[in-house]
Structure formats: structure tokens, C-alpha cells
Symmetry: C2
Subunit: 391 residues, 2 copies
């Protein structure tokens, strides 16, 4: 579905506008998502030891059954800003709460952008009444809110699914850990399903584990990464299994959109690992392959360099029988039973070069554990973008 036509679930409204955190007046930098009634909310936050003020404020406020809104600014991450940063983050939620006539604790906050700078609270304070006044429940309103979350993203990231009368819609941002100083992965998922806080928390963690925790652009985990789920019950209860599938789909689409938008990337890479004793073992190996600069440069060069892939699997810290694994690149068998096939390098190379999507399939033939992981190639353009940003 085009981003322009992703609908909001019942009972939600959204808005996004430019308030002045970003210098370019054409760029939105403030977003608001509101439920017209108390909603269940859950959140998953960065595990980084260094976290921004908004993360510190928001993670104390979920899970809850009384959430009303999420307010987000882009252009400044409010990280490494000490007590003043915490006060600013709380002030943002207080202003929204006042406008909505709700408790301050019912509002969560995210910020993304430059770190080590204080928020321009004059801009935020002038923008907040306008963004509240601009709230609407049309797809364009959701899209405007998604725009307000963007930093270096080249497109807004939106996804939606339905389960009977229930709708699940999400907005996300992220395009690698690059500009201004450090970007971030943020996502807000809204649903009109009725969920208890403990269930929302459990289902969101499971969905994040299979989506945002299975992507890697450069292995960096930011100080602000946040995924929030709001469930306001406007459409009533929903079969949990079906809801979980829809939530997983929305999270997966938002997560893979980040990889599709990764800076400088020319390939979207799926790493499929099967045949390990556990999903955890499969995930560890998949992450090691996906994070490898040598694998990522080989794909950029359309080089069917299977030795780099198996060596990255081999140092992941998970034992396996090196005489048993199979490897396929874009469906071409390049390794069977741990030794290379007599594949035609030119054909496999052309299969990589001529397709933006690249799939690495590893089977270790030692159990039911599996993981699908997504990454991108590593290009000179990535280096240029990341080396030349601030100087």
C-alpha cells in the first residue's frame, strides 16, 4: 500500500509539522500520535548503557493501561544533556498532557537527531499547540506524523494490516546510524485491538525480536532506539494468534524498510539460517554473517566469496560441524557438506550484480533452529556519507 493511503486504526489521530528544531522549514520535525481514550501501551527500548533523556522518561511509563499519546521530535536526540535534558523531555509530555487534559504519565516521548545538544524548547513549545490543533484521522495525517520522525530517511516508513475489524498500523524511521551525529530507529505501532498491558508487552517484545532485532546496517545500537505499541480497544478484542501475526508483519515491514533505505547501500540482503539446535544459535550465526564487513563488501562487488560467509559463521561462537553445512547464494548452490561445489563464479556473480535483493541461505543440518536476518551491502558511498558528515 502506498504510504499516502495507510489508515489509522479507530480512535487514533495523528499530526506532523515543522516547528523549528530542524533549520529547513520544509522539513517536518514534530509528530504526535493520540488515542481518544486510554490505551494499553508497551515499549521496547535500546539496551545501550548510554540512553537519551526521552528513553529514561518513556520507559518508566510503560507498560500501562492509561496511555493517551506519543510525542516525537526529530533534529535533536536530547542525549547527553543531563538534568536539563530530562526536564525538557518531561516538559514535552506535560505540554501534550495539558492540551489533551490527561495525566502527564499518559504521554511518552521520543527524540532523534544530533546528540549532545539541548532541545530548542522555544520551537517545541510553539509547535506543540499547533500539532495538537492539527490532529486528524486521515491517512495523510499519519503520513505527516511519519514525516515528522524522519532524519536521513529518504522515504517515510508506514505499514498496516487488518485482522477482521482490527487494524494495526505503524510508522517508523531509521536509515543507518549516520546523520546528524547518530541516527536512531524509532517506531510507533497503533492498534484498535483490546489488549491487556502484560499481553501487549509480551507480544511487542516477541515481534521486535523477529524484526527490529534482526536487522543490521552497521551493527550500531543507538542511544535512542524505541518501539512503542498503543492498543486502545476501539475495535474490541482480537484472536491473539492472528493479532500477533499482524503485529509481526507490520514490525517486519517497518524494519526491512530501514534496510531498504540504508545509506549508500546497493543490495538488500536476506540471511536465512536453518538447521541449528535452537533459534538462538541460528540468530547468532545469522547476525555474525550480516555484520561482517567482508561479506557486505563481497556482495557489493558481486563476488560469490563463500569463504567469507562460512568464516563469519565460524567465528560466531556457535559450534557446528564444518563438514555438514550447505550454502546457497541467490539460489545457487556454492557449498555442500562444507566443501565448494563446482559452481560457475560468473553466473553467481551476475546473479548478485543484477538483483538488488540478495539471499544467503545456510543450512547446518543439525536441528530445527532457524533465523531470517536482514542487512545491506557495505559501499564506498556509506564510508563517504559517514566520514564526511560533520567536517
Amino acid at each position: 500500500m502506498p504510504a499516502e493511503s495507510v489508515p489509522l486504526p479507530a480512535g487514533f489521530s495523528a499530526a506532523g509539522l515543522h516547528c523549528g528544531v530542524k533549520s529547513d522549514p520544509a522539513k517536518r520535525d514534530l509528530a504526535l500520535f493520540v488515542s481518544d481514550r486510554p490505551a494499553t501501551a508497551a515499549g521496547v527500548f535500546t539496551q545501550n548503557v548510554v540512553v537519551g533523556a526521552p528513553v529514561q522518561v518513556s520507559r518508566e511509563r510503560v507498560p500501562t493501561d492509561a496511555a493517551r499519546a506519543v510525542v516525537i521530535n526529530s533534529g535533536c536526540s536530547n542525549v547527553s544533556t543531563g538534568e536539563r535534558g530530562l526536564a525538557d523531555a518531561r516538559a514535552m509530555t506535560a505540554a501534550v498532557a495539558a492540551a489533551l487534559a490527561c495525566d502527564e504519565e499518559a504521554v511518552t516521548v521520543c527524540s532523534t537527531g544530533v546528540i549532545g545538544q539541548f532541545l530548542n524548547m522555544n520551537a517545541i513549545r510553539s509547535g506543540l499547540p499547533q500539532v495538537v490543533a492539527g490532529l486528524g484521522d486521515a491517512p495523510d495525517d499519519l503520513r505527516a506524523a511519519a514525516e515528522g520522525m524522519r532524519t536521513t530517511d529518504t522515504f517515510p516508513k508506514l505499514s498496516t494490516r487488518t485482522v477482521g475489524p482490527v487494524r494495526v498500523s505503524g510508522a517508523g524511521k531509521g536509515a543507518a546510524m549516520i546523520a546528524p551525529n547518530m541516527a536512531t530507529m524509532l517506531a510507533v505501532v497503533l492498534t484498535d485491538a483490546a489488549l491487556a498491558p502484560a499481553d501487549a508487552d509480551r507480544l511487542l517484545r516477541a515481534a521486535v525480536d523477529r524484526s527490529f532485532n534482526r536487522i543490521s546496517v552497521d551493527g550500531h545500537q543507538s542511544t535512542s532506539d524505541t518501539v512503542l505499541l498503543l492498543a486502545n480497544g476501539a475495535a474490541g478484542p482480537c484472536d491473539e494468534h492472528a493479532f500477533a501475526a499482524a503485529l509481526n508483519d507490520v514490525c517486519e515491514e517497518l524494519a526491512t524498510d530501514i534496510i531498504r533505505d540504508a545509506e549508500g547501500a546497493t543490495h538488500f540482503v536476506t540471511v536465512d539460517v536453518t538447521g541449528l539446535p535452537s533459534d538462538e544459535a541460528a540468530t547468532t550465526i545469522a547476525r555474525s554473517v550480516a555484520d561482517s564487513p567482508l561479506v557486505k563488501t563481497a556482495i557489493h562487488g558481486a563476488d560469490p566469496n563463500w569463504g567469507r560467509i562460512i568464516s563469519a559463521a565460524g567465528y560466531a561462537g556457535v559450534p557446528f560441524d564444518p563438514g555438514r553445512f550447505d550454502l546457497d547464494v541467490n539460489g545457487h548452490a556454492v557449498c555442500r557438506g562444507g566443501v565448494p561445489t563446482d559452481f560457475d563464479e560468473a553466473i553467481v556473480s551476475e546473479a548478485i550484480r543484477s538483483n538488488r535483493d540478495c539471499t544467503l541461505t545456510l543450512n547446518f543440518h543439525d536441528g530445527p533452529g532457524a533465523c531470517r536476518f536482514w542487512t545491506c551491502d557495505l559501499t564506498a558511498e556509506y564510508v563517504r556519507l559517514n566520514a564526511d558528515y560533520t567536517t
Copy 2:
């Protein structure tokens, strides 16, 4: 000391020549290191699950008190070559043992170069008698052996120290995990000190832990990484503390030479971490910073982007107080107590740009644990070299 003048310890000889594994006749591809009497030997090998045939053969033969020789070829790593590869690796040691009239078990073997190809044993078999005949104990002989280990290295890596009458000399190779398919870090350290096998093993592991295990070009651990120590006792016993210091120095010089020779790099980066509860915690954080593509691209761009450094520290998995750490870049204080100083970005940027050596100093003020780690910057040239190799 120039590589041309690094002497062999007493009782050792060496040689290096071209036998035909590499196609270019100007490039040496075979090296031999011999002790004239049984020597204590210890080895440290890659932890990769996938290992080459030479690693499988050699790691069964150390520690020992009866070693006589190390034979090494470059140009083919003999990895992923199955039973035939194992037979070839054993045949190399058998041929050397026959020429030296010693037990086959007294010879260890290393190979480095392309993986997934069988060794050209005709070339090896014709070369081995010549390399034995060419053995000599002059610095030029050691240098020739170091040349025989090279793959993409732009210079041979040699280091030496003395402790009274005892000499410790090492030869190494490595220049990132790049060409032909996957390069490797190899080092052979020779000493005329007398050492028991258990002591040699313990001292080598400690030295490797502080040198080769503290460098990172791209985080890859190859399928062939090997460090061997031979101690023949020709100079008699030696104070263990003094010997350990010399061994550490030689390993550190060989290890940092690999970073100085890293493909495409324009900066040699030292990451100094102090103030953690343990050395292990400090090492984990230092490695996380050193492996970060964002830190490495920032240094390439002379960008004093301290947020990337602290965020890489923050996701290392080691707890610390984010309000207590200090960070210096090339001696300039950029962060104190977890918040940025008002440093002049232009001055710090110029300090990075105009010096090949760059030092990141992190102090967490929470204990005596420390680690010095070495890495290089990430450049577009690295991507070009690694993306464009085989295609």
C-alpha cells in the same frame, strides 16, 4: 631495527623462496624455520569453527619439547579441502622431517592464501628440498622466510628483542582479511631461551592475548590464524618475567605492524580504555569501539564524533555509569563526566587529519581494569579492495 637486520636466535636457521604456488615467480611462497636441536614449541590457533587442514595438523603437535621446524606456504590456505587437504598438509611436514632426519611430529605447518583450492603439491614437493638446502642463519635468511609468508602484506613483518644472552625474534604476516579470498594472521616466534612446554604455552597465550587478540581490522577471524613459539634453549634459561616482557614486545610489534599495513587504512588507531572493574571488561569495551564502522569512518573523515564512540562503548554489554566517563581524542578532552566539553571541533578535527596515529582515551573511573587495543580507520579504498577482488 630495519627488517633486513633482524637476527635469528642461536641454533635457528631459516629460508624462503618461490616454488610455484603463487603464479608470480618474483614472489616467495615457501618459508622454513628450523631449530638445530629439539625445541619446546607452543601454538595458539584460530577459534573459528571452520579451520584449515594445517591448523588441524599443527594443533595436535603442540605443546611439545621435541619440535624441529615450521614450514609455511603462502598463495593457498588449504582450507575446505577435506581429507585430501589433510593428507597434503601432513605430506609437507613429512617431507621436511625426512630432509631433517627427524620425526614428522616435530614439524608444524601453516598455509595462507586462497581457500577452497587444493595445494599445488608438485610445486611444494619441488620447493621443499631447495628451501632446506637454502637454510641459513643470517638476517637475510630470516627476512626471506618472512617474505615467503606474505600474501597482500606491503612489507615483511619482523621484530626482535634481547634479554641478556637470550634473543627473541619473530616473523609475521597479515594485512586484513582480504585477498586472495581470505587472508590470515600468521606469526612464528623463535627464541634460544630454555622453556618447559607448559611455560611456553602459558607465556605465549598471555602474549597473544595482549597483542594479536587486541587488534582488529574488520573483526574477522580467519580459518587459519596461527601463532607458534619455538624455544630451543641454545642460550640457556632466562628470568621468566624478563622473557615474558620481551615476548610481549615482539608479539605487540608484529601485531601492530598488521594494523599499520591494513588495506586502505589512512589512520593507525589506539583505543586506550581504563577505569573498569576488570581488564576483561575494558577489553570488551575497547573491542566494541575498535570494531565500530561508524567510529572507523568518523576517524577517516577526521570527525571528532564522540557520540559514536560512547555509543559503541554503551552497547558492548558491559555496565558502566554513563554520567562518569571521560573521553579524549588525540589528547583533547571532548567529554567529561558523560557530557561534552566545549572543545573546538575544528582543532580536534585538524589533530585527527594531520596525524596518521590517532588515540582514543576512555576512562570510566570505576576500577583498575584497562586495555590497549589497536585498529585502523575504514575507508572507501578498503571497500574497493574488498569488493572488487575476485570479479
